[in-house]
């Protein structure tokens, strides 16, 4: 297997509605920004991996539309769709393309154009996804209403409610800690020019003043629905060393599914457990990815983490699953400011998914943001310390599929 590095990154500005561009133009913007950053021409790219949340935006085969907008006309294009973790898997697919020796330069791009749905937020997209994914339960004779409340427990947002409740009970943390995570992420996002929800100086008290949506979540806790795209250029070692001053090496990766599958859970005649705060897939992915990367003690060896956290409890849960803090203690580290941008273990210095959620793109952005931190190109949200190793996650599938990617400034 060959070493693979990220040699260029590109993204678009994220906002609630990008009416100025259609889907292809928006994805094109991110790709051209990445190619420019890498100083690579489209003619030099061997292959493309692309993806968004399946069914969202109402374009069934977006890769068929994108070809000549992203420089992929006449080139191999592979579409990957694993729900919320899509972007992470798109990046990992590009890694495989180069690591295998099949291609020397690959572009990974992921996006979401939420505003192309008529209903606000993700309603239309989720309906689309739900229709396809719930057929197996309709098979059991459950009505759609029952599916939503009993089995899907309200899709990702409903799952996250239970997830937060389970975690708070288990760890002894409180809603106040969700306020703290959200406030930190909005403050960080204010330093990231591409981010959607920017709130300079946001305090936990500000978040606590927002209205309840579904306990334990307030409006201020929850991610927005964003339009936006991101892209990265990946290259083999020879090219990376010649073409890039500071290539970022993909040192380890894994994407595991686990039994916390809401769609085939115990509530629907399956075996999936319903404590979504466990996220065993994250633990399994982290162990595999760290072993591949040669990381023995993530608490010492990881310098920054970009965690997929549309809901603030997820930053705490996944930070523990990634071994960045001991079990049930991430909230204590949060209290001490250790996860702040200038803390011991900065989590989501970009503001993360909590501040910007163009779903398909979100997990690719986590990897991209880690790359920017290692390259030293994160500008205002650059963490004020040397970054040698970073870890990125994506959460998706049927709330049970996690992609973990470990990045570093050296391939070894």
């Amino acid at each position: 297997m060959r070493n693979v590095a990220i040699i260029g990154c590109g993204q678009t500005k994220h906002s609630a509605r990008r009416r100025d561009v259609n889907l292809a133009e928006m994805v094109g913007d991110a790709v051209w920004n990445a190619l420019e950053d890498a100083q690579v021409t489209p003619q030099e790219v061997d292959a493309f991996t692309v993806g968004n949340m399946q069914g969202f935006g109402g374009v069934a085969q977006p890769e068929q539309w994108l070809g000549d907008w992203i420089g992929a006309a006449g080139k191999p294009v592979l579409r990957v769709a694993t729900g919320g973790s899509t972007g992470g898997c798109v990046a990992q697919a590009a890694f495989y393309a180069v690591a295998s020796g099949l291609y020397d330069i690959a572009v990974a791009t992921a996006w979401e154009k939420h505003s192309d749905s008529k209903e606000p937020g993700a309603t239309t997209g989720l309906s689309h996804v739900a229709l396809g994914n719930t057929i197996n339960m309709i098979n059991c004779g459950l009505s759609f209403k029952h599916l939503l409340s009993m089995t899907l427990v309200g899709a990702a947002a409903g799952v996250a409610c239970y997830q937060a409740m389970y975690y708070m009970y288990r760890s002894g943390s409180r809603v106040e800690h969700l306020d703290m995570v959200a406030a930190k992420d909005r403050r960080n996002a204010a330093k990231n020019k591409y981010a959607h929800l920017q709130w300079p100086g946001c305090t936990p008290e500000d978040i606590a003043k927002t209205e309840w949506v579904a306990y334990p979540f307030r409006y201020g806790h929850i991610c927005p629905a964003s339009d936006g795209a991101s892209a990265m250029v990946l290259a083999c070692e020879d090219i990376a060393r010649k073409r890039c001053k500071k290539p970022v090496w993909i040192k380890g990766l894994a994407a595991y599914s686990d039994e916390e599958n809401q769609i085939m859970s115990e509530g629907a005649g399956g075996i999936g457990i319903l404590d979504a705060s466990q996220q065993i897939g994250a633990t399994m992915s982290a162990i595999k990815a760290y072993r591949m990367a040669g990381i023995r003690d993530p608490q010492k060896e990881i310098d920054v983490a970009e965690i997929y956290q549309p809901f603030p409890n997820q930053e705490l849960i996944f930070a523990e699953r990634l071994g960045l803090f001991d079990e049930g203690t991430a909230w204590r580290a949060l209290e001490k400011g250790e996860t702040d941008i200038n803390g011991r273990m900065p989590c989501d210095p970009s503001g993360g998914v909590n501040a910007t959620n163009a779903i398909g793109s979100s997990a690719l952005q986590r990897i991209l943001e880690c790359a920017l931190q290692i390259m030293g190109k994160a500008e205002e949200h650059q963490v004020p310390k040397e970054v040698h190793n970073a870890v990125a996650t994506g959460w998706g599938g049927a709330t049970n599929y996690i992609a973990v990617t470990v990045l570093g400034d050296s391939p070894y």
Binding site: R17, R18, R19, D20, V21, N22, L23, E25, G28, W32, P42, G57, G58, D68, W69, G71, A73, K113, S115, D116, S117, K118, E119, T124, S127, H128, A130, L131, T134, I138, G141, L142, S143, F144
Partner: protein
């Protein structure tokens, strides 16, 4: 053994409606609005010279960036490259029904454009259609700035 009559069938309605409102982007919005003035905008690539209608902001041939400054007005006259004729249409109930009269459709290259438009053809009998014949646009009586403003193309006067 259970008999045929014991098989349980449950009908489950799925109350889903998925509506969309796609953004078309700035150049395409301009193209659509200009139809109200009976104008057809194309865009000419400054690098390779390829002319697209409707316009787009990235050349699909050489990947040069295109913008408003590259918009170019097309005459509405063109050449019929190829054609097909429909004799049936969908009946909305999963089957076909016969059309009261055949509907010809054509692949048209507008004067000055390199890309091809597919449009309905009118004021012409299917047997009169011929590759290479000259055609011209017929506008709706009161164009409103929407795609339907282009009613069809008809054979051009000599």
């Amino acid at each position: 053994m259970s008999s045929q009559s014991e098989i349980v069938l449950t009908k489950v309605p799925v109350p889903l409606v998925a509506g969309f409102q796609w953004s078309v982007g700035e150049l395409m919005e301009k193209f659509i609005k200009a139809l109200a003035d009976r104008k057809i905008w194309g865009v000419k690539c400054p690098e390779c010279g390829y002319v697209y209608v409707p316009p787009r902001w990235r050349c699909g041939k050489c990947y040069a960036k295109l913008g408003e400054e590259n918009l170019t007005e097309l005459s509405g006259k063109g050449i019929l490259l190829s054609y097909a004729t429909a004799y049936v249409e969908l009946d909305g109930a999963g089957s076909f029904k016969d059309l009261s009269e055949p509907k010809p459709i054509g692949a048209i290259k507008l004067e000055g454009a390199d890309s091809t438009l597919f449009m309905p053809l009118g004021e012409v009998k299917p047997e009169e259609l011929k590759e290479g014949m000259k055609v011209e646009v017929v506008w709706r009586e009161e164009p409103k700035g929407e795609l339907a403003d282009i009613k069809y193309f008809k054979p051009a006067k000599r």
